[in-house]
């Protein structure tokens, strides 16, 4: 009986670990959100965004084509600059592949106080975002912003120096507007390939 009890505990422990790690695949909540989205695409809340030209934008406006989305704040000194540079490279790659009319790119700021429309326009101009295929956007309403961050699984924590620490990733929306893939910024090209694979024959 003692050995049986030990065996039961070991089996339960292994099962518990399998459950907590989605089958030994993830150790962190960041890994878990990526795995969850890949397994079951997530419908996004319909919130109002405002692009770099001050025009209203909704996720529904972009349906029909895949969208690559990143969350940044433009005064970020490090990782956001890397993310924006990656997006610029992706847009250029999409253009060279002749698929730039099949994929949308949106850089969303989670710092609407500092990232005003004029600030977004200036940064978009610096990175060469045309406002059509690649848009910069902000969500002015705090509740809508939080709802969006929650839906995407973005956690932005106020950090020293007035900045934020946040999870950095590229998010892929499928043609139905669902969050269907999250990839690392160091594997941006894979996300473009994924998006191209969901763009159909358009």
């Amino acid at each position: 009986m003692p050995r049986a009890a030990t065996a039961v505990v070991v089996a339960a422990g292994i099962a518990g670990f399998a459950l907590a790690t989605d089958g030994f695949r993830v150790l962190t909540s960041e890994g878990a959100r990526r795995h969850a989205v890949a397994r079951s695409p997530r419908v996004l809340p319909e919130v109002l965004l405002e692009d770099q030209n001050g025009s209203a934008l909704r996720w529904a406006d972009l349906r029909g084509q895949p969208v690559l989305v990143e969350f940044v704040y433009t005064t970020c000194p490090d990782v956001c600059q890397q993310m924006l540079s990656e997006f610029r490279a992706l847009v250029e790659t999409a253009s060279s592949m002749g698929i730039d009319d099949r994929v949308h790119f949106v850089s969303v700021s989670f710092d609407p106080e500092r990232d005003t429309v004029s600030q977004l326009r200036a940064v978009a101009s610096y990175y060469g975002a045309d406002g059509q295929r690649w848009r910069f956007a902000r969500i002015g309403d705090p509740a809508a912003l939080q709802e969006t961050l929650d839906a995407f699984g973005i956690v932005a924590l106020p950090a020293a120096g007035g900045g934020f620490e946040h999870n950095a990733a590229i998010h892929g929306l499928d043609a139905e507007g669902r969050l269907a893939r999250i990839g690392d910024i160091t594997a941006a090209r894979e996300m473009l390939t994924w998006a191209d694979g969901r763009s159909g024959s358009e």
């Binding site: 009986m1 003692p2 009890a5 030990t6 039961v8 505990v9 070991v10 339960a12 422990g13 518990g16 670990f17 907590a20 790690t21 993830v26 150790l27 962190t28 909540s29 960041e30 890994g31 878990a32 699984g153 956690v155 924590l157 950090a159 020293a160 620490e165 999870n167």
Partner: protein, 220 residues
Amino acid sequence: MGGWPIRIRVAAAVASWAAVAVVWRRPLEAAMVLHALVQLPLLVAAGALLVPRPAPAVRTSAHPYAPAALLVALFTSALWMLPRLLDGALGDPALETAKLLSLPFLVGVPLRWSWPRLTPLARSFVVANAFSMLLTLGWLYHAAPMRVCNSYLREEQQQLGTAYLVLGALLLVALLPRLFSGRESEHAHARHQVASKTTRGRTARPLASASKASFPCSSG
């Protein structure tokens, strides 16, 4: 402390649990180092308070169910070291409730009950693994370029890593003299004597006290 009457122990356990799980829950969870090194251990301690001090004779013989009880504690505590669960508990009430209840009852109680009932080899194994785990986790948290928990800053993660490394070093400092003192073999000899005397129907109390004093991992 383990010799307190049951009502006192239960009251102390409930008060400790309420302090870290209710009253100071948010401040303790606001900082990663407080969450991992204050709240979680105190939840375990609250459960341990429920277990009475074992009779002296218990400490001289291994209990057949002690390994199973120890494994319950080890598996449960290992689960709560997963960044995903630690992180997730902050935003998921069900997970938070699971944490607040499982640490006292599935770690504190079985660990406190099983510890004096384990063989010296099993206790040494646990301590050696705790040492290596502290250093591994400490280095990981200190050196990882990315945050392992979305809810905490990288600076906090590094602080926790440093704290784990310091704890590992302190554990090593505490154990080193005993590792090289040869007391382990004296203890094993004492256990053997106790076992033979108990078989002959004589009391084991004096030697049990001696073993408690000499064994490095003996619980109080």
